[in-house]
Symmetry: C2
Subunit: 211 residues, 2 copies
C-alpha cells in the first residue's frame, strides 16, 4: 500500500453496549492524524449512544445519512449480541464494507462481519475468551485462534479490546509509513506490539463462553 495523500473518512460505528476501549483505543491512534483522517461517529440513530460501561458517546450521523466511508471502525462489546439480530446494522455493513478501502473490527465486532457474510472465504480472528461465539456466526470463515490480529485483503480483525490499538497502529503504518505509526505510539507513550502473531491471550481461549 502506498502512502495516502488525500484525506480519508474514518467511520466509527456505534451501538448500545459497545466496549469503550474497542472504540477509543483505535480512535486515539487515528485521531492524531488530522487532517489526513476525518473521524465521524455513526449509529442507526444519531444522538447519545451508551457504552457497556455506561458513558455515552455522541453519534453525529445516522445510517441513512452517512456519507461514503473510506475506513470503517467496528468495535465489539456485550452489545454485539443484540446487534447480531439487528437487520439495520447487518444491512448497513453489507452495503458499506464492500465499498470501503479498509474495514477494521475489534473484539466481537468480527461476529457482526461474519453474521453479515462479509468474512466468508477470509481469515479472521476475534476475542479469545468468547471465541466460539465468533465461529458460530459462520463456518465459511477461516477462524484464526492464535493471533493478535489478522489481515485479509481489505478486512482487518483484531483479538479482544486492547488488541485493537496494536492493529490500528499496523494499519497506520501501512497507510502512512512505519515511522508515523511509531511516532503516534511514542507520543501516546504506548508500547506497541508490532507482531500480529504475538498473542499472549490465546491461553484464555473460550474461557468465558458456555458450551
Amino acid at each position: 500500500m502506498t502512502p495516502n495523500k488525500d484525506p480519508l473518512t474514518l467511520g466509527a460505528i456505534l451501538y448500545e453496549g459497545f466496549e469503550l476501549l474497542d472504540l477509543y483505543g483505535p480512535l486515539e491512534m487515528f485521531g492524531n492524524l488530522k487532517p489526513q483522517i476525518e473521524i465521524i461517529t455513526i449509529a442507526e440513530n444519531a444522538g447519545a449512544v451508551s457504552s457497556f460501561q455506561g458513558p455515552q458517546t455522541v453519534a453525529e450521523i445516522d445510517f441513512q445519512n452517512c456519507p461514503h466511508l473510506d475506513l470503517i471502525l467496528l468495535p465489539g462489546g456485550f452489545g454485539t449480541v443484540q446487534e447480531l439480530s439487528n437487520e439495520a446494522m447487518l444491512s448497513f455493513l453489507k452495503d458499506r464494507v464492500p465499498t470501503a478501502k479498509l474495514t477494521m473490527s475489534v473484539c466481537s465486532g468480527s461476529w457482526l462481519l461474519a453474521k453479515a457474510g462479509l468474512l466468508d472465504g477470509r481469515r479472521a480472528t476475534s476475542n479469545k475468551a468468547y471465541f466460539k461465539m465468533a465461529t458460530q456466526q459462520s463456518d465459511q470463515v477461516e477462524w484464526i485462534e492464535e493471533a493478535r490480529w489478522v489481515e485479509d485483503g481489505s478486512i482487518f480483525t483484531s483479538s479482544g479490546v486492547s488488541a485493537g490499538m496494536d492493529m490500528y497502529l499496523a494499519v497506520i503504518a501501512s497507510l502512512f509509513g512505519e515511522n508515523k505509526a511509531m511516532d503516534i505510539a511514542n507520543t501516546a507513550e504506548y508500547v506497541w506490539s508490532q507482531n500480529p502473531d504475538n498473542d499472549p491471550f490465546h491461553k484464555y481461549l473460550n474461557l468465558l463462553v458456555s458450551e
Copy 2:
C-alpha cells in the same frame, strides 16, 4: 488499603480538548467493576464535550450539581492548556480533590492539579514529551521525571496517555485486590505493566516542549 465493599462513585471530569485514551483507557478498566463502581461524567456544563481528536462524550452533570465523588479521574490533553486559566475548573478541583478518597490524573491532568496547588509538597509525574509544562505549574511539587506513574497518599498521577491504564489497574489492585485487577487486564487482553518505575518513554523527556 483494604478491599472495599461499598459502591464508590468515580467522577470523570471532562473539558473541551481532552485526550480520548486518557479518559477511556481508565474507564475501560474501571467500567467493568459495576456494581462496585458507579461512573459519572462531569463537566463545567452538562452536555456534549468534544475531545481533542473530535468525538464527543456526554457530560451527564455539571459542576454545580455534582454529588460527592469518592474517586476522581482527571484526563489530560491539549485542552488542558485552556483549563489552566479556567477558574471554574480550578475551583472545582480545589473543592473536590481534598474530600475524595483518591484522585487520579493522566498525562497533562497533573498540570491542573499543580496549578490548583493540590500537588504542593507531594511527588507527582506527567506526560514526558511536555514535562516542562508540568514543572512550570508549581515549584512546590517534587516532580518525578522517570516514572510510569507516581502514588502520593490520595493522589495518583500518571505519565502520558497510555500510562493511565497501567496506573488505574494498580489502583484497582489496591481497592479490590491484585487478582481482580489481573482478571480485568486479561479480559481486556491488555499486557499490564505493573511496575510504576518502568518508564520506557522517559527518553522522550521534553522532546516536544519549547524552551
